[in-house]
């Protein structure tokens, strides 16, 4: 494992995270750190422990062992499926969560998020009537209401068409450019290579790799893989997965 030592500007850091569900170990001693404005992609085969890791970082689950150092303030969490009320309007959803987040000026936050998501003209539409992509944008906007230093995205582009994905990643890149640390999990290796400044490769709950996409490619020089996906599969095979 190419462990990355947490620098002074690490905003979130884990040490030896472990979690088991019955006999199955979902996480086994996972340690890493993420820095301000960084885009960290968590990838791995199904059942690798990606969602478990994100849910522990979000504070939804407690680890059996290990620790998480979180930044002061809120961590934004965006679940894979849009977590919003489909019978409420876009503005009502944002206002509700802004109030629950105890944001100082909920109405101003709602306007700001509507502007960021470019959904001002849909503000009075019920969320359930929006496309999956737009629902996901509201989903992310809700996660951003408390202006978190770290945003956790669990497979944010799942189920979106290419155009919706493009708009979503433009939005996320804008957030990272503003200093928000974004940790996202994905099955889409092209997406991970393209948007992830760093990769965290999990398999069977183990952290196998922590580095940049070119570094992963370089880690399997004799595989003959011509693209990132081939390199990733070769890497996993080499590590016995």
């Amino acid at each position: 494992m190419n462990g990355v030592e947490a620098g002074g500007d690490a905003v979130i850091e884990t040490r030896g995270l472990a979690k088991a569900f019955g006999d199955r170990e979902a996480l086994r001693g996972v340690s890493f750190a993420a820095h301000r404005g960084e885009l960290l992609a968590v990838i791995g085969p199904n059942g690798a422990g990606k969602t478990t890791l994100l849910s522990i970082l979000a504070g939804i689950r407690r680890p059996d062992a290990g620790s998480v150092s979180r930044p002061p303030g809120e961590i934004g969490w965006v679940p894979q499926q849009a977590a919003l009320y489909r019978r409420l309007t876009v503005a009502e959803n944002l206002r509700l969560f802004a109030r629950l987040e105890k944001v100082p000026d909920p109405d101003a936050s709602v306007e700001e998020m509507l502007a960021q998501t470019a959904l001002e003209d849909r503000r009075d539409d019920q969320a359930g009537t929006l496309s999956g992509g737009n629902q996901q944008r509201i989903n992310i906007a809700i996660g951003l209401l408390a202006r978190p230093a770290v945003l956790l995205l669990d497979e944010p582009s799942a189920g979106l068409d290419p155009r919706q994905r493009e708009r979503l990643w433009e939005f996320v890149l804008g957030l990272a450019g503003g200093g928000t640390t974004v940790i996202f999990s994905t099955h889409d290796l092209a997406e991970a290579e393209r948007y992830g400044q760093r990769l965290l490769v999990l398999a069977d709950g183990e952290n196998l790799f922590d580095g940049t996409p070119p570094a992963l490619h370089a880690a399997v020089p004799e595989s003959g893989a011509r693209d990132f996906e081939g390199a990733f599969v070769a890497f996993l095979r080499e590590r016995g997965h």
């Binding site: 849910s55 504070g59 939804i60 977590a83 919003l84 009320y85 489909r86 969560f97 629950l100 809700i142």
Partner: protein, 449 residues
């Protein structure tokens, strides 16, 4: 087809809770309801206490009646439970083991025999009843009335024959033994003859003064006999009187009870379905994990759902009562108590709904589950004690105690009518159920997300 069938069996085997709900629970409820219906109106259980000394013969009009046969005949119509003391009978009625208790007092036979004399004393049976609600009160009254009427019908035949001899005596004259003396009764027939014979010829200072004196004497006796005829005729119409004592329960009026049932059923369905569906919706909308990640505690979320249920149940039930008050009388001076009863019932049902919603985790499943559980429980709660076997009623009592319907119905009955059940116990019961189901719902939320 075969593989699909096996697959479904495997799914059921791996979902024990679902299996219990879908198979075992309906069977259990069906058995309870089936027993309750089948044992209902046919043979009510009645405690029977015979205080008449053993071997006392019953003689009416010179005929000896067989008490043992009468007892057997009575017990073929009801399920007689022989008891040895009035206290035992009282306890069984109070606990609901029997519908009522029938007590034959020591002087029952002597009073019964006196019906065939000129100094009748009406025999009285004592009946102990438990009138938990007006439906049960009506049921008990019907049963006891039927039994007594059947007995009275038989006795009245005997007494009528005796009455006929007295009437013959009054008509034709003859001898009557009374208090050791033999009286010569002239009779209306002879009187008529005498009067007819003297009427045309009776001058002033008539020598028929003696006969006239006899007629006057007969008139006096006839008047006295007619005085005796009044209780005699009464005894013919209704030889045995019933002294009813309500051992426990003070039923409200039938109107108030019907309103209570309607209001409680409404309260139950509105609250349980609303809270169960509302909680399950948090999961279906994927909002639960987001909310409970730090924005809202799980207890707070449950509390909000219960509060929602209580507030809306108050609104809906009050609107319903207001609508009903157009047709039936509702004592609105008891508004505070009515509000308290609705709120307490709403609390119990809301907590129960939260448990269902947390357990079912899906809106449709929770709605189905709410109906599956609530409807039979409401039905079972209306089964009267004494109409089913004690063992079955014990099971029913446990089921009733575990669900809020029975307590909510008592609270509503007590709130709507001053003669209804006391409010304190149902309110405490509902508070306990509310707390218990709240804890169960919180436990179920562990696997909710």
């Amino acid at each position: 087809m075969r593989w699909l069938f096996i697959k479904d069996l495997q799914i059921l085997r791996r979902s024990p809770l679902l299996t219990i709900l879908l198979i075992v629970y309906p069977i259990a409820i069906a058995v309870l309801i089936g027993f309750a219906l089948s044992r209902g109106p046919e043979k009510p259980r009645v405690a029977f206490l015979n205080e008449i000394p053993a071997g006392t013969p019953l003689v009416i009009n010179g005929q000896q009646l067989d008490i043992t046969t009468a007892h057997s005949e009575l017990c073929s119509r009801i399920d007689c439970v022989d008891v040895s003391s009035e206290q035992q009978a009282r306890d069984m009625v109070k606990s609901g083991d029997v519908l009522a208790a029938l007590i034959l007092p020591k002087d029952f036979i002597s009073n019964l025999e006196s019906l065939a004399s000129l100094t009748p004393s009406q025999p009285t049976v004592k009946v102990l009843v438990n009138e938990e609600d007006p439906v049960k009160a009506g049921l008990v009254n019907d049963r006891i009335s039927t039994l007594i009427n059947q007995a009275n019908l038989k006795l009245s035949k005997k007494v009528t024959r005796l009455s006929a001899t007295y009437l013959t005596l009054l008509l034709r004259g003859g001898h009557l033994s009374l208090l050791g003396q033999t009286l010569n009764i002239l009779g209306l027939q002879n009187t008529q003859k005498i009067l007819q014979s003297i009427q045309p010829e009776l001058p002033k200072n008539s020598p028929f003064a003696t006969d006239l004196a006899r007629v006057i004497n007969f008139a006096r006796l006839a008047r006295q006999n007619l005085d005796l005829a009044t209780p005699l005729l009464s005894s013919i119409a209704h030889p045995i009187d019933v002294h009813k004592e309500v051992v426990s329960g003070s039923p409200p009026s039938l109107d108030a009870f019907a309103i209570s049932v309607a209001a409680t059923v409404t309260l139950m369905f509105v609250t349980v379905l609303l809270v169960a569906g509302s909680l399950a919706l948090e999961r279906e909308e994927n909002a639960f994990a987001r909310l409970t990640r730090g924005l809202v505690g799980k207890w707070a979320l449950l509390g909000e759902k219960v509060l929602l249920g209580v507030v809306l149940s108050i609104v809906v039930t009050l609107v319903m009562l207001a609508g009903l008050s157009l047709f039936v009388h509702i004592d609105w001076s008891r508004f505070g108590l009515i509000l308290l009863a609705i709120a307490a019932g709403g609390l119990g049902f809301a907590a129960f709904g939260a448990f269902i919603g947390a357990g079912a985790r899906e809106v449709r499943a929770s709605s189905l589950l709410a109906f599956m559980i609530s409807l039979p429980v409401a039905f079972i709660s209306l089964v009267e004690s004494g109409t089913v076997s004690p063992a079955l009623f014990d099971v029913i009592k446990v089921v009733r105690a575990l669900f809020p319907f029975d307590a909510a119905l008592d609270a509503m009955s007590g709130a709507l009518d001053a003669s209804g059940p006391a409010l304190a116990m149902p309110l405490i019961h509902l508070a306990i159920l509310g707390a218990a189901y709240g804890v169960l719902a919180r436990i179920a939320l562990r696997r909710f997300a």
